[in-house]
Symmetry: C2
Subunit: 257 residues, 2 copies
């Protein structure tokens, strides 16, 4: 199935599940929608925090198509799940934004680690959360985001346990992909970045770390979601976690060297 | 001082010290000399173990100049210290090979981590052994070399303690330089690669590892020296450890991307 065909199924209500594993050769994106009054600050927040918020595309106010990242995208209908936040609280889960769309909405598509997952597996690196059919483990850290307007907070990271040799290879591979979070931000001792209990992730599922493995931590697309939430905007929208926007961008084209 | 001028001082007997810190923008090389009868096996050994034995240049039998890596090099006189091995034992330390040169000697110049040291420092990474004016700590491991003829044994590694963030950066930097050992071979738990006591290196000097640091291990040019020694050749020659061949190759030109 092409990404275009996949999005059509979403738009027609035939697909309402997590998108991991679908159209695996193409980049999936985190979605953030804020009103024009906050869009400039949010764009600057992304610029200042490129590891957690790598912008793949940004729309004009009111624009719901995103030709730069996919044919005939309608951002109001082509994501299989949306969260609506009002005053910083998630108040509604939706499958379409058509009824609540505002002419001042600005859409941000932000790179997602689903893409580099593909690269790692192709390099022979086994990912435990995939093998165990779990969501990746994610943690709040004490790494402060650079702030812009109301957007701030701390970095959220995802963690994948690996042997040292695979960790080195994973650093090499992901360094080539700054648009999908790039190189890890930390390896080893979780306490160094403020993670108290590695067995209790703040989001996703715990996975075991074997005695010969190191935890490897990447900046995570949940970071902008948390920043959106804590900014307490009158209204903001994100994708439902795991229910991503599937783009037409081949992952391989995101490599910078 | 240019590398050419530096080598002239060595040739004239005016320099008989470790070469670290001299002509720092230019690659220094490990030296291995074996008789033609063993050269093919040794060349294949290097090919099979490129992380520890990255060949910068190899001579014809009897050839003591190496135009590919430096103007007017005379390998018999331009290294400030030589070790001579007979039947696997270091039997003599010399400052010239002129009296013992054989027409069947084949010269190998092998990349050296002195070069990437420069790259790391330029990237703002502090290296404890440099700051403490020590030799880098080196360890025998249980990582088996691929064997070729009489050459085999285990990999020797050098270790530099770093914070996780600097370790990630150091992996990115050294990955660009396969000719000078490339990316690390291990990070973290020394026992994983057979190192029993990190405070007691097999070569060089111990340095402390701070609580927020990881030990980062690179393949080391002592590996081929150990392979030469344990191969018990009738005669073999290496540089004296730390007393390297200074080449005309700018370190920066060794980057592959």
């Amino acid at each position: 199935m092409t990404p275009f065909e996949f999005r059509s199924k979403v738009r027609n209500g035939q697909f309402r599940e997590p998108t991991a594993g679908h159209c695996g050769d193409f980049a999936q994106a985190n979605l953030v929608i804020v009103a024009k009054a906050y869009a400039d600050d949010f764009f600057r927040f992304c610029f200042l925090n490129p590891k957690s918020c790598p912008v793949l595309a940004v729309g004009e106010p009111g624009q719901w198509d995103m030709a730069a990242i996919g044919t005939d995208i309608d951002i109001r209908t082509d994501v299989p799940g949306y969260y609506v936040y009002r005053d910083g609280r998630m108040v509604e889960e939706r499958t379409s934004l058509q009824e609540i769309w505002q002419p001042d909405f600005v859409v941000f598509a932000i790179g997602c680690s689903f893409s580099f997952k593909q690269m790692l597996i192709q390099a022979g690196i086994r990912l435990r959360h995939i093998e165990q059919q779990k969501n990746v483990a994610m943690y709040r850290t004490n790494i402060k985001n650079k702030t812009a307007g109301p957007f701030g907070g701390d970095m959220v990271v995802s963690m994948r346990p690996m042997t040292a040799a695979y960790a080195i290879k994973a650093i090499q591979i992901t360094s080539r992909f700054p648009a999908i979070h790039g190189a890890p931000v930390h390896i080893g001792n979780p306490a160094e970045i403020g993670i108290g209990d590695i067995d209790r992730p703040d989001f996703g599922d715990a996975v075991s770390i074997l005695p010969n493995e190191l935890p490897v931590f990447w900046a995570c697309g949940v970071t902008p979601q948390e920043a959106i939430r804590t900014a307490c905007l009158p209204i903001a929208i994100t994708h439902k976690p795991g229910y991503m926007l599937v783009t037409d961008i081949p992952n391989s084209t995101l490599a910078v060297f």
